[in-house]
Amino acid sequence: FNEVKELNDDFLDDLEELLLTSDIGPKTADVLFEKIKEGMDKKSIKDSASVISFLKQETFDILNIKFEEKINKKPYIMLFIGVNGSGKTTTIGKLASQYIKEGKKVLLIAGDTFRAAAVEQLEVWAKRSGAGFHSGKDKQDPSSVIYDGIKKGLDENYDIIIGDTSGRLHTDKKLMEELKKIKRSAVKAHKDAPHDVFLVLDSTNGQNAIHQTKYFNEAMDITGIVLTKMDGTAKGGVIIGISNTYNIPVRYVGIGEGINDLKKMDVEEFVDALYS
């Protein structure tokens, strides 16, 4: 796609294949194609290179959503939510390590009281990153673990408090109600909590990620997205439709399983990789 080609049907077919195989999805692809056709009619787009640069700019504008950096608030309380296996626990470990390196005192709360060895898994990350750790009793109500954890974080003067939650499918009404209860408990523990709610999305997901965002956003206003497993072959294109619809920024990108494999989202870099 980097050589300038004539704007013919073959090129447009190839472009459609690129968009769809990147998980951009048929609806968002149609929206983008409509804009391209308008540009072609207005003659503002006259060759393949201008199509690609148009797409890149359009996508950049959709993804470039403003957010408030809250790291210097004290306390800074955040919750991580998302479907099963998306990478929540691992992402928390990586983020904790970054904050600790910046001199912050970080507490991790083991809010997954359901899954086998979930508490042990987060405890390993606490040790690796140097963060403090709070867990409850086996099968304790997650809301009370989060409440107790935030209280402990406040009492012991932590700068940053991160709550892990168990994976759940957005279609499970009971578990989505549990999320709302977790949020209420967080607010009870501190009136401004949670300062950030991160939805963790596996970049290998297809169009289902849109449903995930819809329902998780209804349960707990999402302030940011973490796109994990971008070190794989998936392009994560579904995020375009998501950002366009819900106006939520991607804040971090997971690029591996190690403690340093998390970087701040770079929209320009992401867009270039998407259309390469």
Partner: protein, 300 residues
């Protein structure tokens, strides 16, 4: 939940008495939309639509059926739906949900797949199912990387009252080999290797699986795929199959609303059967694969 794509397709035939090229074309566009939203891979969608179009216009369309001895006309919408359903089921079959057992010595199931796809949980589900069928199952903790992975399998073993074989400071290849010796010694007849999640493009970790394969010759190499996976399903499935010659696929997390179009993509690109479906987080939530259920879900 019927997708709007499929509903629109059926509506194309309102008031029509026959399937014609005029009413089929727009219906196929609606189906295309529906299948792409269901995460079926782009090229497979193309092939599917071509097959449906040929069938719909061909001699094979019987819009007259014998019902209670008299001839009845099937509405073109229903005929079209029938063709789509049949074509999709055909792509997902033939059905083979068998587990391979060897004549002499303990049989082996090797679980593998991308990170977080549900391998460890599904290991528990298979262990429960096969124990109830009379097997003596040994769980093998071959994931030495993920924090508390061995703990996770041990908790599952405790829940199901099954033994977990694990070894500290040992490579996964050696753990699996040693587990086979242990199984022979202690008269287990089925081992399930729970391996670490890995990217199909991770040469070193794929090499690890190849070595386990060479040394223990698993009778069942199952690729575990998250049903929410998108277009990447084909790259992953193709690479795992090329390097390891998988025996079957297990699709997980189908208790959600993922349409599961990846199932079709994975089947197409590997030509290997879908064996089981994961339907929840607890160990009773494993179903044997049936094409009809998944076909209507993918079509929407």
């Amino acid at each position: 939940v019927i997708s709007s794509g499929f509903k629109n397709a059926k509506n194309r035939f309102k008031g029509q008495s026959e399937l014609t090229i005029e009413n089929i074309k727009p219906a196929l566009r609606d189906i295309r939309q529906s299948l792409l939203e269901a995460d079926v891979e782009f090229k497979i969608v193309k092939k599917f639509l071509k097959n449906v179009e040929e069938k719909a216009l061909g001699e094979t369309v019987k819009t007259t059926i014998k019902h209670k001895g008299e001839k009845r006309k099937i509405k073109p919408a229903d005929a079209f739906v029938k063709i789509c359903q049949e074509e999709l089921e055909a792509l997902m079959g033939p059905v083979d949900t068998s587990i391979n057992y060897r004549e002499k010595g303990p049989s082996i199931i090797m679980m593998m797949g991308l990170q977080g796809s549900g391998k460890t949980t599904t290991t528990g589900k298979l262990a429960k199912m096969l124990t109830e069928e009379g097997k003596r199952v040994l769980l093998v903790a071959a994931d030495i990387y993920r924090p508390a992975a061995i703990d996770q399998l041990k908790v599952i073993g405790d829940t199901l009252d099954l033994k977990v074989f694990s070894e500290a400071n040992t490579s996964p290849q050696d753990i699996c080999s040693h587990a086979v010796n242990y199984a022979i010694e202690h008269k287990y007849n089925l081992l399930i290797f729970d391996t670490a999640g890995r990217l199909a493009i991770d040469d070193k970790l794929m090499g690890e699986l190849e070595e386990i394969d060479r040394r223990t010759k698993p009778d069942n190499k199952f690729l575990v795929i998250d049903s929410m996976i998108g277009q990447d399903a084909v790259h992953t499935a193709k690479e795992f199959n090329n390097r390891l010659e998988i025996d079957g696929v297990i699709l997980t997390k189908l208790d959600g609303d993922a349409r599961g179009g990846a199932a079709l993509s994975v089947k197409e690109v590997t030509q290997k059967p879908i064996k089981f479906l994961g339907m929840g987080e607890t160990f009773d939530k494993l179903e044997v694969f049936r094409p009809e259920g998944l076909a209507s879900r993918i079509l929407g």
